[in-house]
Amino acid sequence: MTSTEAGTTVSITRQPNAAAGRAAPKGRRRGPRRPLGLPWILPAFIFVVGFIYYCIGYTGYISTLNWDGVSPNPQHVGFANYTQAFHDPVFWATIRHTIIFFIVTFTVQTAIGFIFAALLHSKVKLPNLYKVIIFIPVVLAPATMAPIFRQIFSANGQFNTILSDIGLGSLAHPWLAQSSTALPVIMAITIWEWTGVTFILYFAAMTQIDKEILEAARIDGANGLKVLTRIVWPNVRGTTIALAMLSVIGALKTFDVPYLVTLGGPNYATEFLGTFIYRISIPQAEVGYGAALSILLLILSLAGAVAFGLRGTRRS
């Protein structure tokens, strides 16, 4: 799902400036008045805004009910569902997992993606082969990969085989069945799936860097590592901020991997807001509580986007 947002954040962070800069002079334009655009934007506007805002409003209403989704007269309970959420240890566990998940996946993806991009800008052999290998996970559905990941990290899976092959057999254990290692495995799978996006964005950002600056730095005696940390890294900061925002939203949206690989378990160790809301709303049919959790998730996503969006615009 997140693949679609790869570039989103970049554009969002730029949008306020761009919009402000363009909208103002356009209004005062001389010359022929422009044709009315309203009929052109209305189909998309009604479809998206009508649909989604209706859904959000409806969720907000349901969140004040004690309802199983089918009973004809649900009971109004005010904000009781929200109070229930704040007293639910599983809710706080999902928040904790989301934060850890964001910090780890973002850091690791940034590091690997950045290094890959730098290496592939360095005249290595067969660059396209490496590019393809890193990028293939992005186009594969998490649902398609879930069975093999369950197998790889199972007690007699390939990961344990590799560990014993390289003499670390003592570390071998059922990775997904143990609370302490299930979350790291979920994060590793996510990193495997999304580093391609990080890489491709950094790769594109690096092509934009002025070659002369790099050349000048080299003539001044800077080595590869210095060029990378002092010149390349600051120059791709916009991409890094965008990727941070992408990761926040991605962490809040996480559903496919934990649901398919561990079902949120063992003992809620890999429960995320997405899997939690699904479990509450659909199999457990506590629709009112699920809706309250959905509204909380919505608030968190918007807050995350705004926080990073504003940071991006202020600095740029």
Binding site: P35, W40, I41, I112, K125, A141, T144, Q151, I200
Partner: protein
């Protein structure tokens, strides 16, 4: 980025790169290996013999195509209006749409469920196509508007002086000039629709409508304890995606970087 004049440093870079890429390759190799263990190609034969695989593909293709058509048409119209035409309170409309961008689809489950039941759309393609399209359009409009802003207004004004109305300009000037961004949007929408799991999981209940992302779960119940066949079915669903990517590599990568590059 790294200077590689000496042969030794060239080799070191190549080795580092190769070691770093191995973990990315490993699950793919493990997947193929696993799908061939036990009965070897027999796993693939057993999966194919169930006869449902083409059906799942067809469903995914119909859904992806439906989403692409809706997203493409509505996005092009709206982006043209936002970028080149006169709209009052333009930015308010725009930001109301953009707010939907961060929306996790799980938030929509309950209301969508009740809409689908009321309109009789449950277990139909529409129950997945409509929400997917609604979730894709805001981002597509954002990208396309940015792209159209770079088309000079003078071109547009000149056409108007020559007597062309907005519809003609849209067809003759805007559509041909926006082909690159349209391609990017189609690819992005394709990946999102093809790989979506949650909406089909909730709304599509029978194999006659289910998509390929539900194929592994279908085979888990079909071949209860035979993991190798489940993995074989996953390989079958992965192959077309990999082929599509390899054939359209530039488009895929450009699609994903579209927002990052001005």
């Amino acid at each position: 980025m790294f200077e590689t004049r000496r042969l030794s440093s060239k080799i070191i870079l190549q080795v580092i790169l190769t070691i770093m890429v191995l973990p990315f390759l490993f699950p793919l190799i493990a997947m193929v290996q696993e799908s061939l263990s036990g009965q070897g190609w027999g796993n693939y034969k057993a999966v194919w013999a169930t006869g449902v695989v083409p059906q799942f593909f067809r469903n995914s293709a119909i859904i992806a195509l439906g989403v692409i058509i809706i997203v493409y048409c509505l996005t092009m119209l709206a982006a043209f209006g936002f970028s080149k035409l006169h709209v009052r309170w333009k930015e308010i409309f725009f930001w109301m749409m953009l707010a939907a961008l961060t929306l996790p689809e799980v938030v929509l489950l309950t209301p969508l469920f009740s809409i689908a039941i009321h309109l009789g759309l449950f277990n139909t393609y529409f129950s997945v196509i409509l929400p997917l399209a609604a979730l894709q359009i805001p981002f597509a409009v954002l990208l396309t508007r940015n792209f159209m802003n770079s088309i000079p207004d003078e071109l547009f004004d000149a056409a108007r002086v020559d007597g062309a109305n907005a519809a003609v300009i849209f067809r003759r000037i805007i559509l041909p000039l926006t082909r690159p961004i349209a391609a990017a949007i189609i690819i992005l929408t394709l990946i999102a629709a093809w790989n979506d799991y949650l909406l089909p999981l909730v709304f599509l209940q029978t194999p006659s409508t289910q998509t390929i992302t539900l194929l592994p779960s279908f085979f888990v119940s079909e071949f209860s304890d035979d993991q190798t066949k489940v993995v074989a079915s996953a390989v079958i669903t992965a192959i077309p995606e990999i082929i599509a990517y390899l054939c359209l590599q530039r488009l895929f990568e450009r699609g994903l970087t579209a927002g990052a590059l001005k």
